[in-house]
Amino acid sequence: MKLHLTRRYRFAASHRLHSDTLGEAENWRVYGKCNNPYGHGHNYVVEVAMSGPVDPSTGMIANLTDLDAFVEREVIEPFDHTYLNEDVPEFRSRVPTSENLCLEIFRRLRTFPHATLERVRLEETGLNSFEYAGEPGGSTK
């Protein structure tokens, strides 16, 4: 039997979808209103799934106090109420689409020391969601 523990977290942030490798008209064609120069924001929901043996003395894959503190430090604190394009260094050179945001969150959370990160699912709105579970063999993009 395999068990995955999943916890949901929230943060609010703004972004602008714009690629420096595309011209102005092309950016507008590709990203539409998401290319608005002033940016726009979302209430993001992040689902973090962890696996590992259940410690018989606690009944837990990971203590939620440890997991919450780790996610808070690695993702919520640096992302919440920020302008992702400028405030998060990784997005100064990469478009902060939810695909890239999902990959970046996975990269930041995979070093959690008490369990194995299985999957990150990111809801940009209630209607759009993105998932990343690493690459076969355990590497990441």
Binding site: M1, K2, L3, T6, R7, A133
Partner: protein, 141 residues
């Protein structure tokens, strides 16, 4: 392969306490969960199989409903999980351990198709997925 999911809810109380720990250790490891408290649990049970050519069903939902009533609701609803559910005796009734107990109760009772996943929500922001060894975790979500 078709995946069929049935959802039920039950309400139960529990506390996290390891008799091998001191009072201070229990408080430190389990925090507020060391106090008796309760949840509205939501259980999603997913059965995988091929639809029967005559009935068009993977299994009869009435049959699954009766199994869930008998194995889960009758055992756990409005119970104090530590003291009133023998299958959890000697275990900390975390979401991980309850999901594993539910998996072990349901798995032998599903005669048509096979149990693919048990997902137990303790709150809307915390849930555990349980999979069999042979199913893998990469199937339908």
């Amino acid at each position: 392969m078709v995946y069929l999911t049935r959802k039920i809810e039950f309400s139960a109380s529990h506390l996290y306490h390891n008799p091998a720990f001191s009072a201070e250790e229990n408080r430190r490891v389990f925090g507020k969960c060391n106090n008796p408290h309760g949840h509205n649990y939501v259980l999603e049970v997913t059965v995988a199989g091929e639809p029967d050519p005559t009935t068009g069903m993977v299994l009869d939902l009435k049959e699954l409903k009766e199994i869930l009533q008998c194995e889960v609701t009758d055992r756990m609803d409005h119970r104090f999980l530590n003291y009133e559910v023998p299958e959890l005796a000697g275990q900390i009734p975390t979401c991980e351990n309850i999901a594993a107990v539910i998996w072990n109760l349901l798995e032998p009772k599903i005669k048509r198709g096979h149990l693919h996943r048990v997902r137990l929500y303790e709150t809307p922001d915390l849930f555990v997925d349980c999979y069999g060894e042979s199913n893998g975790a990469g199937g339908a979500r």
